[in-house]
Amino acid sequence: MDAGVLAQYAFNGLMLGVIYAMVAVGFTLFFGVLDVIQFGHGDVVMAGAFVGLATYLGLGALGIAVPAFAVIVVACAAGFTMALAGAFIARYLVLPLRTAPAFNTLLVTLMLGSVLRELVRLFYPNGSNPQPFPRLLPAAAINLGNFTLRLDSTILLVTGLVTIFVVNLIVRRTRLGLAIRAVAQDSETARVVGIDFERVVLVTFAIGSALAGIAGIVYGLYYNEVNFDIGLLLGVIGFSAAVVGGLGSIYGAILGGFLFAALQTIGSVALPVSSAYNNVFAFAIVIMLITWKPTGLIAEPASERV
């Protein structure tokens, strides 16, 4: 196997990693402010992809076919819709269960994912089959031996990294981010100093879900196909990534996302058995990692999570 093929695998792994990281950051944000896991988050990604697809078809019906314009509209539509959906989920499904056992929240959000999945399957036209996703990015490519650097993938990779960076900036550098971090640290005290707890939670869910919506678009543009059932695996992978990295830490989520992608890539390249085992391999390693470091690789300081 020469360097070109290896580089190709590495690049594809990075691409996967950025999608996983975008999902994992959402998990980590939600866990930060509310100590909950929104298990339907993967299906929010899927819903974002389908909203984007529907927007694109709508634009086509209006006769607008400039790809550069369409891709921005599609991404914005997915982001905004999912932001609204996220706030809605927080308001009506997650906040009412604040005082209930964690199991209840887990169950409700798992079922929310299942409901989103079924809604798309049943009510999107021909939704039970994979839908082609339009190629909206320039398809230029540079060939370096066995390594093909595609312009569209590079744009997606950069977009993903930039959106994560922006979210990180919001959390670290703005007043809103200060409020989010305050609530994450101690919601009672945050309330005492006049932070509107519920608003912060809703906004955090909106930010995380918008990120998921954009991740859905990135996914669609990268694979040129979306299916109603991609959310479950994406959700579990995103959650695994967040946990392995250390729930509550954005850097941990990014690390976990890339780590999971690396495991999958190694699983499909380096294992002596069929590459179809890559998920079996990746999840087995994840279970071992959780056993070894239950608080994640980048642990929240003074956490009592286990």
Partner: protein, 393 residues
């Protein structure tokens, strides 16, 4: 002295009328079950569901219910035996209708893994979102052993044992983690399991495996039963076996709950620190609950697979695990009795109302969300332990 005798007499007369109440109640439930399974008319199914819903809302409002509940508590053994007889009676009454019998078996065999999950989640507080994986482990074990001509009874028991052994792979992660992290471990395992079956050629891959009908020491389950000129569907055999299994699991769960083991499970679930302070070995309690639950899942999976005659990876996906958890939550977490109506709702209703079959996963999802938001204790909430009938009011 005389007062004691009078109380005694009164108690005995209450007891006698209580027994009548128990018999009538169980007979009514049996009749309802028979009608529900036998009919294929949509309006009748709807009417029966309405009747059940009305009874469900009204019965707890009636004053006599406290006494009724006492009657059940006092005659627990009689009640359990009568209920089993009633189900058997329903099976016999449906003797020539294979499809309703198959549904009855399915309900009974789904109750068993759900009892396993009840022991894990409801008692010891261990979340398990890989129920279908352990069910599937039992099924595949039975399939492999049956193809090697191992006696079927041994195959079924081995199904449970292998499921428990596979579960023991997860014990260390389960002990090291809690809450969401533990949930992730089981979810990851559930997905790992179905992916593994999907890509593994030795176990039939996506096409799955075929199984023979059960043959228990000469009792061939897949042969129609002929009694006095009447031919009964061979599913009657499976009704008997799955009823025995469900009954054994139910009695076992109740025994565990009433024992000090069950008390230890509850303590671990409610507060690990306090439980440890009382000298309960938390690790031991969790391992025990987890293993018992997985064993039950495996046994039921083995019988289920031989009844179906065919298994494939998509019978044991994460979605199926969610169905098992839905039954447990809908029934009332921690109450094995609640699993019966819940399994009927989840398993049989979509079969009876074919027009909702397509939408069933959507409906389950919405149903569970509504239950958790508005009635988190489920259809039949778990009640405090009563070591002596009538002491709790």
């Amino acid at each position: 002295m005389r007062r004691v005798a009078a109380t005694d007499r009164r108690a005995r007369s209450v007891s006698a009328s209580g027994l009548v109440a128990v018999v009538v109640g169980i007979a009514a439930c049996g009749a309802w079950l028979w009608a529900f399974l036998a009919t294929d008319r949509v309006w009748l199914v709807a009417a029966l569901l309405v009747v059940a819903a009305i009874a469900f809302v009204l019965v707890p409002r009636v004053d006599a219910v406290g006494a009724y509940r006492d009657a059940f508590a006092r005659h627990r053994r009689v009640a359990v035996a009568l209920s089993a007889l009633a189900v058997l009676g329903v099976g016999v009454a449906l003797y020539d209708q294979p499809y309703p019998l198959l549904m009855l078996c399915t309900v009974l065999l789904f109750i068993v893994p759900c009892i396993g999950l009840t022991i894990q989640t409801g008692y010891a507080g261990i979340v398990n979102f890989a129920g279908a994986a352990f069910f599937g482990t039992g099924a595949y074990t039975a399939a492999v052993l049956a193809s090697r001509h191992v006696p079927h009874l041994a195959g079924i028991v081995a199904g449970g044992v292998v499921a428990a052994l596979v579960g023991s792979l997860l014990i260390l992660p389960m002990l090291r983690t809690r809450g969401y992290y533990a949930a992730l471990v089981t979810i990851a395992f559930g997905i790992l399991f179905s992916t593994f079956l999907e890509v593994n050629n030795a176990l039939g891959g996506p096409q799955g495996l075929k199984l023979p009908g059960i043959d228990l020491v000469g009792w061939k389950f897949n042969r129609d039963v002929a009694v006095g000129g009447e031919r009964a569907s061979f599913y009657v055999n499976y009704v008997v076996l799955s009823l025995a299994l469900a009954l054994a699991a139910f009695v076992f769960a109740r025994r565990v709950e009433r024992s000090w083991v069950g008390l230890a499970f509850d303590a671990v679930r409610l507060d690990e620190t306090a439980a440890a302070a009382f000298g309960i070995d938390i690790a031991r309690a969790k391992i025990l609950a987890f293993t018992l639950g997985n064993f039950l899942c495996g046994i039921a999976g083995a019988v289920y697979s031989m009844m179906q005659g065919f298994i494939a990876p998509n019978n044991f996906t994460f979605g199926e695990s969610l169905i098992l958890v839905s039954i447990v939550i809908l029934g009332g977490l921690g109450n094995p009795l609640g699993l019966v109506p819940a399994a009927l709702v989840i398993v049989v209703v979509p079969q009876k109302l074919q027009f909702i079959q397509e939408y069933r996963f959507l409906l389950y999802g919405v149903l569970v969300i509504l239950v958790v938001l508005f009635r988190p204790e489920g259809l039949l909430p778990r009640r405090a332990r009563e070591y002596f009938a009538g002491t709790l009011r």
